[in-house]
């Protein structure tokens, strides 16, 4: 955590910045002999992947499950977060005795390429300059992220994953895994996701990026070098995005029109309403743990995702002859990645003859449902993972 001397007045942010090069995680380093080819052209070398593991790899190496995180997630799926001190983002689902049972499975979670918690991303030090990459890092794609993850899985000596599981952008990675490495994935669980990012979702991302870039402290992406931080811009981006992760009914249930610590309207632009206060808090908390340029890179990767486009425009061709078994899950109130998006994937999988389960879970909590305690979702995850483990003799 020594290379962020300009940010001493932002201790939380400095802690997050420190994670970029020297994370509180295991790190796999890939040198000049193992460059990462990028969709944007050229290669990334050297690069590193920060990852957490839970549980023990069995002798047959057949019980490994890879978790893929979403846009604002990281590798700290089932442990206390080193920056925020909060529980892991998927402790509802992952842990001892949980549906993804770390007493029986070897669970791997890695930070995505372009991220900011220890895998090479725009806040990492560019070895060519000794400065943070900033916008000098090539734009990365979901396929690049998955290519990097496959190198990590090689590094861990695992030939075939029992399962790859993830929601939202994590679900995109799961689909990409199944398409790129069908022989390395026994079971795939893409949750609350889509095979391509919709125009509406690209539009939301663009609002977020513009908010970041409109912040004068962004400094053309060189804020780390210049000792500033586009906190307001990133915070607004997060506030806008957070609305899309919830639903009208869950916002109403949580906040209604209730006022924040006051008896009446102040006739000002203070956060009179609880929902305003909540969003401001969400924005602030996010800025403490997330890098603004990473936000640009990772949202861009999602925007570029269109799996069918890589297969002649026919999604079914992405899964042709696949032996992987799939379980898709959507949530009724998710308007960001709808049931129709999941169904389109199911149709393609049916057309390709793959074995597929699909369940729609009733929930009014919107897109974020996959991160929350939804008993039916947990039961389905457990059933699907256990059946896969039985089928490969890993139970």
């Amino acid at each position: 955590m020594s290379d962020s001397t300009a940010l001493r007045d932002l201790p939380a942010y400095e802690a997050a910045r420190g994670e970029a090069d020297h994370p509180h995680s295991a790190v796999a380093r890939f040198g000049a002999d193992t460059p990462l080819p990028l969709d944007a052209g050229g290669v990334l070398t050297p690069f590193q992947i920060a990852y957490q593991t839970y549980g023990t790899l069995n002798a047959a190496r057949s019980n490994a499950i890879l978790l893929c995180h979403a846009l604002s997630g990281d590798q700290h799926a089932a442990n206390v977060h080193p920056v925020t001190g909060k529980p892991g983002w998927w402790e509802t689902l992952v842990g001892p005795g949980k549906p993804i049972d770390t007493e029986r499975f070897f669970v791997i979670a890695s930070n995505v390429l372009g991220g900011c918690l220890g895998t090479t991303g725009p806040s990492s030090t560019n070895p060519a300059t000794g400065q943070p990459y900033g916008l000098d890092l090539p734009v990365v794609t979901i396929r690049d992220m998955v290519r990097a993850q496959a190198m990590l899985i090689d590094h861990l000596g695992i030939e075939k994953l029992l399962a790859v599981v993830g929601g939202s952008m994590g679900g995109m990675q799961v689909l990409q895994w199944a398409a790129s490495y069908p022989e390395r994935v026994f079971a795939a669980m893409p949750i609350a996701t889509a095979a391509r990012h919709s125009a509406q979702n690209i539009a939301f991302h663009e609002v977020g990026r513009q908010a970041v870039m409109a912040d004068p402290e962004w400094r053309g992406g060189r804020y780390l070098q210049e000792g500033t931080s586009p906190r307001r811009g990133l915070s607004v981006a997060r506030m806008a995005a957070h609305i899309t992760y919830m639903s009208d009914s869950s916002l109403h249930r949580k906040f209604g029109r209730r006022l924040q610590d006051r008896d009446g309207h102040t006739f000002s632009f203070d956060a009179d309403f609880q929902v305003e206060s909540y969003l401001r808090h969400q924005g602030e908390a996010f800025v403490d743990r997330f890098d603004a340029n990473s936000y640009l890179y990772v949202t861009r990767a999602m925007d570029y995702f269109d799996l069918a486009a890589d297969y002649g425009g026919v999604l079914a061709n992405a899964f042709k002859g696949s032996k992987t078994r799939f379980c898709l899950v959507s949530f009724t109130s998710d308007w960001l990645f709808t049931t129709a998006d999941s169904r389109a994937i199911v149709h393609a999988l049916n057309a390709s003859g793959a074995q597929v389960s699909f369940a729609e879970i009733e929930s009014d909590k919107g897109h974020d449902s996959f991160l929350l305690d939804e008993p039916e979702f947990s039961a389905i995850t457990r059933g699907f993972i256990d059946a896969a483990a039985r089928a490969v003799g890993a139970l």
């Binding site: 199911v346 049916n350 369940a359 879970i361």
Partner: protein, 216 residues
């Protein structure tokens, strides 16, 4: 029906499986690819996977059924047979099964045609509205029959397209399919064992199971 089949039926009946499902399972070649349309929570899928070694998958409309089945590790898709069968390629399954569901579809003829397109064989089981007790009920009481298996009242039932065995045979002819096998179960759940005319089956069979294939 061969004696060996019946032995298996009796054995499995003790284990608790429904007789109509056992009849269906016996019609399915071991190790084949099966799509069960209206699979509920997957009772038949499990039976086919465990006793016949089939690659058996389901479509089910009710969220509860799907979620219960998937939680047991069964491959079931939440979907509507009246629409979703169109998404499956030709000949993608050896058997497409519609068990106690045809009477609840909006377009029974279309569904049957799709089944015979998607599968090499189709198996359909349904409650027979020509069963003598149904006829007697309507004759004596003058009200729509309601039985132990079909307890719904007429205005609150998912079963919108009831038919008799003879009606179904007529539909099979209309879609140009052939009947490879047929079985009826009487009011006690026993197979109507002898090769009797349809009119008799139509009277004695409380449920019927048909194995169909495309003509030619």
């Amino acid at each position: 029906m061969t004696p060996r089949d019946l032995t298996m039926s009796e054995a499995a009946r003790v284990a608790g499986a429904r007789v109509d499902l056992l009849l269906i399972a016996e019609m399915v070649r071991p190790g084949s690819r099966v799509l069960d349309v209206g699979s509920g929570d997957g009772e038949l899928l499990e039976l086919l996977a465990t006793t016949r070694g089939c690659d058996a998958r389901g479509i089910e409309l009710s969220r509860e059924g799907v979620n219960a089945g998937v939680a047991r590790g069964l491959p079931i898709i939440q979907g509507d047979a009246d629409v979703d069968l169109a998404d499956y390629p030709d000949n993608s399954f050896d058997y497409v099964i519609l068990s106690q569901t045809i009477q609840a579809t909006r377009r029974p003829k279309w569904v049957l045609e799709q089944m015979l397109r998607v599968g090499t064989h189709a198996i359909v089981s349904f409650p027979n509205f020509g069963f003598w007790r149904m006829r007697l009920d309507l004759l004596l009481n003058g009200r729509m029959p309601s039985t132990e298996n079909l307890p719904y009242s007429w205005h609150d039932t998912p079963n919108i397209h009831f038919c008799t065995i003879r009606d179904f045979v007529a539909l099979v002819e209309e879609v140009g399919a052939q009947i490879d096998r047929a079985a009826a179960l009487n009011g006690y759940g026993h197979p109507v064992r002898f090769n009797l005319p349809w009119a008799v089956w139509n009277l004695l069979g409380e449920q019927a199971v048909f194995l169909l294939s495309r003509k030619g």
